[in-house]
């Protein structure tokens, strides 16, 4: 009996010891809900980064990384919070990647991550309100705030000599946040917003909305809407009534659907999407193929970078304790140090292990600014001959 007890205790100890060599990373995305089509490739990005680091054998003296997945949904704050709660308290994760949408991210952060002292890293939440949220230095995001996009949009329009604009936005956090950010930057820089009004998604007819926009006037119509929702309806009504013939389209309006629906009808329309001319994006194509996901899908590069930066920060700190490594995230993301591109994570682990410095570039030319969000570089587009073409970066 004694022997048996001893043996059991020994086995438990050994099991415990081997368990310590594996850390768990929470991956919480909106696998269901309005942005569900983005989630699989984003999850692929995080998994690819974790696998690369895990397989190198150089992470925290050979520690491996396991991913725990959860569906945060996009709109249900209660689900997002309870998924995060479960991951932290019962799965024992040491870091949380997610969530996908701004609303779910904010809820999980304030309700769960901050009280539990857990580091949270979102690849894709863009709401400006997350910049000022109380996070005790625990929250990071690989995507820029929409406040930045509003500024980019304002600068780009003014440089083209567009001095007045009418704005319509989809009636939610994203639309209102971006439209307001744009209005304040544009007005500060000397432009004039003639009207800033919302539209509801899912209507058949937007002629009344366009009537108000047309009456306010303006050189250009800025459509802060969704590609598969009210956005095209607004453009269609504006074209039909001859109210506007110039359009500016932010990130959620850029996609193949716009080319298919309007083609040359919106010739000369401008816009911007997050993106950079960094060579890192190209490298992710091969990584995506090897891991079975689309490496350059929207926010997939950001996801790879979020996973990589979080794990590299642990390596730099020499610890997977959130309270310790949270202070190392900005250090690995920014200069000075050796530039690290996707696929070079093993090299980065070596440099960090020997006490060196790295400047993580990754797939999105990641540059984190206070309080822990991407500085944001945008790809400017122009509709030319009915096709979306890239004209520059800013």
């Amino acid at each position: 009996m004694k022997k048996l007890l001893l043996a059991t205790a020994a086995t438990t100890l050994m099991a415990g010891a081997s368990y310590a060599d594996e850390i768990k990373l929470g991956l919480m995305l909106g696998f269901s809900g309005p942005a569900e089509s983005l989630a699989p490739d984003m999850a692929g990005g995080v998994r690819a980064a974790a696998k690369e680091i895990s397989d190198s054998g150089k992470f925290l003296d050979g520690t491996t990384v396991a991913i725990v997945e959860g569906d945060s949904t996009c709109t249900d704050a209660a689900v997002a919070s309870s998924v995060a709660e479960r991951m932290i308290t019962s799965d024992g994760i040491v870091g949380l990647i997610g969530a996908l949408c701004s609303g779910a991210t904010g809820a999980a952060l304030t309700n769960v991550a901050v009280p539990n002292g857990m580091v949270m890293f979102s690849p894709s939440a863009t709401s400006p309100s997350l910049t000022t949220i109380e996070d005790n230095g625990l929250f990071f995001r690989a995507s820029p705030s929409d406040a930045r996009q509003g500024q980019v949009m304002a600068e780009s329009l003014l440089e083209k000599g567009v001095m007045s604009a009418a704005v319509t936005y989809t009636n939610n956090d994203y639309g209102k946040g971006l439209a307001d950010a744009f209005e304040s930057s544009y007005t500060d820089l000397g432009g004039k917003v003639t009207i800033n009004t919302s539209h509801e998604d899912g209507k058949a007819d937007y002629s009344a909305e366009v009537g108000a926009l047309a009456s306010a006037g303006g050189d250009i119509l800025v459509v802060v809407g969704y590609l598969d929702q009210g956005g095209p309806g607004i453009i269609r009504a504006a074209l039909d009534t001859g109210a506007f013939d110039r359009f500016h389209l932010p990130d959620a309006m850029i996609g193949d659907t716009i080319e298919d629906r309007f083609g040359t009808e919106i010739e000369g329309a401008t816009g911007q999407v997050p993106g950079s001319d960094s060579p890192g994006g190209e490298l992710l194509v091969a990584i995506g193929e090897a891991n079975g996901y689309n490496g350059t899908a929207p926010y997939a590069p950001e996801s790879y970078d979020a996973g990589a930066m979080m794990l590299l920060a642990m390596q730099a700190a020499g610890s997977s304790d959130p309270q310790v490594y949270k202070d190392f995230v900005m250090g690995v993301a920014n200069a000075p140090g050796e530039k690290i591109f996707p696929g070079e994570l093993a090299k980065a682990l070596d440099i960090l292990a020997s006490g060196g410095d790295i400047d993580y570039v990754g797939g999105t030319a990641a540059e984190l600014i206070e309080p822990g969000e991407a500085a944001g570089s945008y790809r400017e587009i122009l509709v030319k001959d009915g096709k979306i073409t890239t004209v520059g970066y800013r």
Binding site: N171, I195, T197, S198, H199, E200, G202, K203, A204, D205, S207, A208, E209, V210, G211, A212, A214, S215, A216, G217, G233, D240, T241, G242, A243
Partner: protein
């Protein structure tokens, strides 16, 4: 010149869309009012009957397009419409036999029938979404415009454009034809007269030998045709989305009640009253006013009474006002 510009801007954003929308509402309200007058209940399933009919049109149009059939500059959907009406008639009659006939036989109270029609509404709504999905569908083809804003500007030299879509013109034309045919039928034919008699006084009509089942059947057939035409015109002019028709129910009922439930003429007037109230109250008159007044008086604000978000609130408000002060509606229908 400025007065002309103001007129054109007004026509482009209020008159033309308002007229087309009014015609669509009027056709919908006619269906509701006929059911109310003859079958004596408010048919909440009407919006989804429209959705069902439009779905048939969409499916038949798609089939025709892939078979290479087209209607020249007119939308193919007009060719598909008669077949869709037949399908909807079959559906509506089946619903009547399966559901409503029982409640008629037991002489259920009208309020019970209203609840029953709500059940039918949910079933139809679910069925449509199951068949064609919830997505937006554009099924208009052919020539999109009679006159585009740009052509109008270069033709007239005005700085305001006026666009008239083919679908808007078709909507108004078809509505006129349908309404004329309906009135001729109700006033001149024997069947139409028996329907009106049944509506006026059921017992007297039964005594004079009118077959009630026949009247009910014919009513449903007419309603099915009206619903399909109204739904298809709305879908052609805007776009087809199954859920939209449920939202249309409110302005349609408002039209029927404002005009006076049970009065076909009232339904048409009500449709236009509601449509123009919605459009004018939410239109920003800044442009029009700027053209009309001297430059120094030009308004800073939008001169908009209500934000466009409150479009549906307008029909609600009118509905309540009419019910409070003139429960029988403008054309002395039955009080609700």
């Amino acid at each position: 010149m400025d007065i002309l510009n103001a007129l054109v801007a007004f026509a482009n954003f209020v008159l033309v869309p308002g007229t087309a929308y009014g015609a669509q509402l009027a056709l919908g309200a006619l269906g509701v009012t006929l059911i109310y007058g003859i079958l004596r209940f408010s048919n909440f399933a009407h919006g989804d009957t429209m959705a069902f009919g439009t779905m048939f049109t969409v499916l038949i149009t798609t089939a025709m397009q892939s078979a290479g059939i087209s209607f020249g500059p007119m939308p193919t959907a007009l060719l598909a419409l008669p077949f869709a009406i037949l399908c909807t008639m079959a559906l509506v009659l089946a619903t009547d036999r399966a559901v409503y006939r029982f409640y008629r036989k037991v002489k259920a109270a009208p309020v019970m029938l209203v609840i029953v029609s709500m059940g039918v509404m949910f079933v139809m709504n679910g069925a449509v979404r199951m068949f064609v999905g919830t997505d937006d569908r554009r099924f208009a083809d052919g020539e999109r415009f009679i006159i585009t804003a740009r052509d109008f500007k270069s033709m007239t030299g005005l700085s305001e454009g006026l666009a008239i879509r083919t679908t808007q013109a078709i909507t108004v034309l078809v509505a006129i034809i349908v309404v004329a045919a309906l009135f001729w039928f109700l006033n001149r034919t024997r069947t139409g007269k028996s329907m009106r008699a049944y509506a006026d006084n059921e017992d007297l009509a039964l005594l004079s030998g009118i077959n009630p089942e026949r009247v009910v059947t014919i009513t449903w057939l007419i309603v099915a045709a009206l619903a399909t035409i109204a739904g298809t015109l709305y879908g052609l002019d805007k776009s087809f989305k199954p859920f939209i028709y449920m939202q249309l129910l409110l302005p349609i009922f408002a039209s029927a009640i404002v005009g006076g439930l049970g009065s076909p003429l009232g339904a048409i007037a009500g449709g236009f009253v509601i449509a123009f109230s919605e459009v004018t109250l939410t239109y920003a008159f800044k442009k029009v006013v700027t053209y009309l007044v001297p430059e120094t008086w030009a308004p800073e604000g939008l001169v908009q009474l209500l934000s466009t978000d409150y479009k549906f609130a307008v029909s609600f408000a009118i509905l309540i006002i009419v019910l409070l002060f003139k429960p029988t509606g403008l054309f002395k229908g039955k009080s609700v």
